[in-house]
Point group: C2
Chain length 197, copies 2
DNA sequence: GACAGAAACGAACGGTCGTGCTTTTCTCGG
DNA sequence: CCGAGAAAAGCACGACCGTTCGTTTCTGTC
């Protein structure tokens, strides 16, 4: 029982690494087997189907996102500091971790037009994440750090935008200033969220 | 000569449509042949290889982007109106057109970690686009609509972010307010770019 | 309306895909 | 240390992949 779970986790980690580079669709059982040192059939026995494997990869990634981004953020003081911590951990998550950057960003643009279990899981993750971010921003309003009438959904929308450009800028353009730019954009966003004075 | 060019264009259009949904990697010669009513070999004769086909799709898409976004924008009055026109046409390009949204956004996150001719072409397109956007923003500075010391690269970075979230929000989340949110974000960006007063 | 060249086709190739089986090897509690 | 059950391997399958090649059909010109 123990060994199997261990192997399964190792497979999923390697799968996430590969998928972050070539996409969940580009991920194949054969290469995954080679990279993990297993036989195709030995590896396949751990999953119901390839599609199930793709979903499992996303589920595991989501758990890790919660552990490495959401939980640490919630451990910091309520209000703007927490929003800032969220941003920093989110940025760190995108940079370290997988060799191909954030797996969700890759998977979303691959599956946003392909209905099925993968898209469903992705949608669930995105909704959960958006809700968490919104809640954290709401505490900043409650603490008086952000303006009373702040449009929370708009805030989430724009924060997501910063993360996406950062990924685009650092991954595609390989611009070393991407992180700096993201910080600048974030500061401007936070500034505009503050109470009028 | 004429017939061949025509067929080739039709193939590339269909290829772009398919790729916008399943990605350039998910695009296959077989399905493309079926969808265009050609035989696999008859279709394949138009291209040197699948990789060349992928590049050709991107080249054609780039030409269309110039025709439908850049050119109309440059036809409007210099300064902020032109920046605004650019934004509107860009938004329209993302929404109409391909069934799977903007093909560049999909292709970028698919190939940002896969070196080769496809990535090279993509990088060229992105650089050209960024430069064009920057130039247009620069005219707004020259016209006095935007502040003298405006960080142009930062402006491009943040505008790109708005386009990316819009795509994310409308494609993945299927949020009907995506366009409104994008406009709000754009207005805030422009506002912060204006001279102090 | 014959003729040359372009365009499309049909069939086949070696390979890899995801996925079933059966069999072998490992793991670990008694 | 042995035996039961879990884990991995081996092998095979049908389907589809990108690509090649020889043949057939179309197109436009004199």
């Amino acid at each position: 029982m123990t060994k199997g779970t261990e192997t399964r986790a190792a497979i999923l980690d390697e799968a996430a690494a590969i998928a972050s580079q070539v996409g969940l669709g580009g991920l194949t059982i054969g290469t995954l087997a080679t990279r993990t040192g297993l036989s195709k059939s030995g590896l396949f026995a751990h999953f119901a189907s390839k599609e199930a494997l793709q979903v499992d990869v996303l589920v595991r990634a989501r758990d890790q996102f919660v552990d490495r981004v959401l939980r640490p953020a919630i451990a910091t003081p309520r209000g703007e500091p927490r929003v800032r911590a969220l941003f920093e951990h989110w940025l760190a998550w995108q940079q370290s971790g997988l060799p191909g950057g954030c797996i969700f960003i890759d998977a979303v643009s691959e599956f946003d037009d392909q209905d099925g279990p993968v898209r469903d899981e992705l949608l669930r993750s995105e909704r959960d994440k958006a809700e968490s971010v919104m809640t954290i921003a709401a505490t900043a309003v409650a603490e008086g750090h952000f303006a009373e009438g702040l449009d929370l959904e708009q805030f989430v929308f724009e924060l997501e935008g910063i993360m996406l450009t950062h990924h685009h800028s650092s991954r595609m353009l390989r611009d070393p200033r991407a992180t700096t730019r993201a910080h600048t954009a974030f500061d401007r966003l936070v500034e505009s969220a503050r109470p009028s004075h």
